[in-house]
Symmetry: C2
Subunit: 469 residues, 2 copies
């Protein structure tokens, strides 16, 4: 039932000539005071910041793979001199090490995809991983890593630069999705895993899943790409740009050098509010919140007038406010900036891939002029090119040519406004044009938008289970 604004005209507040108060704005100052107080209580030194929760991960709950060897980087001549990758596993590695599923995360997730003995808290894909679940640990050995650039145990901007002894901050190099995947394959090398049974990911994880098969077609048995893309669209860049902009405008961001002080908690809250808008859908909010307003404060007269507030008043507003508040100290601001930028830069069209100069470059499928070789990109009779394709589709098909033989599951959601269903069809069409006859495609309805991959165990889980078996 709708809760409506009420105004009883025979009673109520006159608008006041005193200075109005805005609790939602005061909340930023209150948080600032609390964090400043924490900072001043800590021991002075180069890393004496207030240590928000993200800076206190639980190292006992994951394993660290430390690579003392440098990692080449896509956008920099200097490699990352050494790096850590935090990871967790579920299930049992088979003696021949042929049952490995590498699970890639979305932007801000940790390696804790599901509960473990070391960390019994629910993971972000709790219902998808376990005995008899879609990623069935009776059969598979599942590995999930914190992504390179993240802040949950893997090397990122908040890590100490061994050459200076200080946090990298924004001296950290710009990363690509390929860099992240390359670091994961170092971990696989370390574990002696030569070939993955499958590379599985949603959202940014779907980009990594495709990138893994592109970098190492011979090492990836199957690919699962859920609500992802092979070429970030300008509208998704726009949404992430808006988030980075509000974050970088927070004075506490301080050009990225906030680790010894108070982090940009207000910018993070505002950025998360924007992000949250892109994760669900209008139809979901209409069904879930409609135009309902927040309950009146306990001391309010329930029969009194209700004057609308400029601070959150509708439930959709309090929801966004709450999501921002919950997140703003849980994740490192620079990690958000770097990883969202890596997503923006992801583009598997052939000219873009060629410009990256990747050492593993998989251009065997194209000839010297960048034209697709006939065997891998000829259109099979069963896969004619789509009608009215986007202009970049042929270039994307050329770029995806190394995946021509890889069984691939693509799953998209019609209510997703961040990774639209058009982008899902684009991946499918490009793979078809590249000659891949083993593409499975599901398009889901429902109102959960981009977050469907976290919520819809029956449909998303079912598709994965069927494809992997």
């Amino acid at each position: 039932m709708l809760r409506l604004p009420r105004l009883v005209r025979s009673r109520g507040l006159r608008y006041s000539s005193s200075i109005p108060r805005f609790p939602c704005v005061e909340a930023h100052a209150t948080r600032e005071s609390r964090l400043t107080s924490l900072a001043s209580d800590s021991i002075p030194g180069p890393s004496s910041g207030p240590e928000p929760p993200y800076a206190r991960p639980n190292p006992a709950s994951y394993t660290i793979f430390h690579s003392p060897n440098p990692l080449p980087l896509t956008y920099h001549l200097s490699p990352l001199p050494s790096f850590d990758i935090a990871y967790e596993t579920w299930g049992t590695l088979s003696p021949s090490k042929d049952n490995v599923i590498l699970l890639h995360t979305g932007l801000s997730a940790s390696s804790h995809a599901a509960s473990t003995a070391a960390n019994p808290a629910d993971g972000w894909w709790e219902k998808f991983i376990g005995p008899g679940k879609p990623l069935d640990t009776n059969n598979f050995f599942v590995i999930c890593t914190n992504v390179l650039g993240g802040c949950y145990g893997s090397t990122g901007p908040s890590s100490t630069d061994p050459s200076t002894g200080s946090h990298y901050a924004t001296r950290f190099p710009i990363l690509s999705i390929f860099d992240m995947v390359r670091a994961q394959f170092r971990l696989l090398d370390h574990l002696g895993v030569q070939k993955l049974y499958a590379s599985v990911g949603s959202s940014m994880g779907a980009m990594q899943s495709l990138a893994a098969a592109w970098l190492h077609p011979e090492r990836v048995g199957k690919v699962v790409s859920i609500s992802g893309t092979a070429r970030s669209s300008p509208s998704s860049v726009a949404m992430r740009f808006a988030q980075r902009s509000v974050l970088m405008a927070d004075p506490n961001w301080n050009n990225g050098f906030y680790y010894d002080g108070v982090p940009p908690h207000t910018g993070m809250k505002l950025a998360r509010q924007i992000a949250t808008i892109t994760y669900r859908s209008g139809p979901e909010w209409d069904a879930r919140f409609g135009r309902q307003m927040r309950p009146l404060p306990a001391d309010a007269d329930p029969n009194g007038p209700r004057v609308p507030a400029l601070c959150p008043d509708f439930l959709i507003e309090t929801y966004l406010d709450h999501q921002g508040e919950q997140f703003c100290l849980k994740y490192d601001a620079n990690s958000l900036i770097y990883i969202s930028k890596a997503m923006d830069l992801f583009d598997m069209t052939l000219p873009s891939l060629q410009a990256l100069g990747l050492p593993e470059a998989q251009f065997d499928a194209v000839d010297a002029d960048g034209r697709a070789r006939p065997h891998s990109t000829s259109h099979s009779k069963s896969h004619p090119p789509p009608t009215n394709p986007p202009a970049h589709l042929p270039a994307l098909a050329q770029g995806l040519a190394p995946l021509a033989q890889t069984p691939t599951l693509v799953l998209g959601v019609q209510s997703d406004i961040l990774f639209t269903v058009e982008q899902q069809r684009e991946v499918v069409n490009a793979l078809h044009m590249a000659g891949n006859d083993r593409v499975v495609y599901y398009e889901l309805g429902g109102v959960w938008g981009h977050d469907t991959f976290l919520l819809d165990v029956m449909n998303v889980g079912g598709a994965i289970r069927g494809f992997l078996s």
Copy 2:
């Protein structure tokens, strides 16, 4: 042709151990310095702020209607004691004053819809107003006002409160769309216009256009509602909430009391960036910008490496940055907050309208229990209720019952993500269910999204011309 990131691996920059610079962040500080300097140069006093451009409108270019009589307000018992409405006109008022078109604006537009002798600059609907144009001044007398709450000559938060001699700031009362329209009808009374030939508006102006016919069905001959809604959706509330949040978090906002200092220019820029995302569409950006990047600086080596930047790098980013920069001193931050809130509050479902206690209350069409009277809401055979309607559709039909006899043009755009095409159909279906047999509905394709009403003279203009003739 795509401009691609380039990296020549044999040359290029090592990532530096020096502190990185972020020109996009420095731009905020530079603007701040400039505005602070302007503020200190001005004569001290209660209104000695730096006077951004919006504070220097050209009073010679519009007419001010001053009402010394109080205006009742929807959400406050105290009326606005007096108020000004700035307006401009085009064409000639007929002797019987029966050829008037009242044109309502979107959120941030002024009364300058088209060039005039007093102000020859192009207006925001220049191609739509004039002799032989869709709003044909050979036939019609067009009136456009700056909205109540605005900052281009009409009374708003930046105006002086006569009771204190200071700016209202956030002591200004929360407004409703109905308040804005009521102020416009005071102007019509002043001009001796008893009945409008038509009420025309796009975006927020479409809300006003519908509200005018609801408040005064007998005074509105025809209604044009372009890319509007009769019930703000939670997703549009979410987008406007995100804008208000970044604006109110700017320390310069100062709870709305910035008129004697530096305005929240950074918050305004960030808010406008978010708004701009909602005004166009992903397909337009893909066609217009694709994944092109900004040109390299003039002093850059064109053959050198291109390391991606965290500041705007893709053209879509520089576009949003530019739109924000252009807007941030052109409009009053408090006007943006108040008017966007009025849009959020707009809801013509019957229970919501009843809760407002409007003095003009048009509930004749419903009986004492709030049920629609048969004559106005019975479904004619030609208008069966739609399949799978939103739950609030019957309540919206009841609310719109006063428009049952008003010829209404509804026009929507399929690529509009702010006022979705589903909302356009909702208005049409509600009017049909209310018994209105004179609804004309056009649904446009194209990639221009919400901004189509500003751009598509042929299709939008043609629909208006046909409907008004």
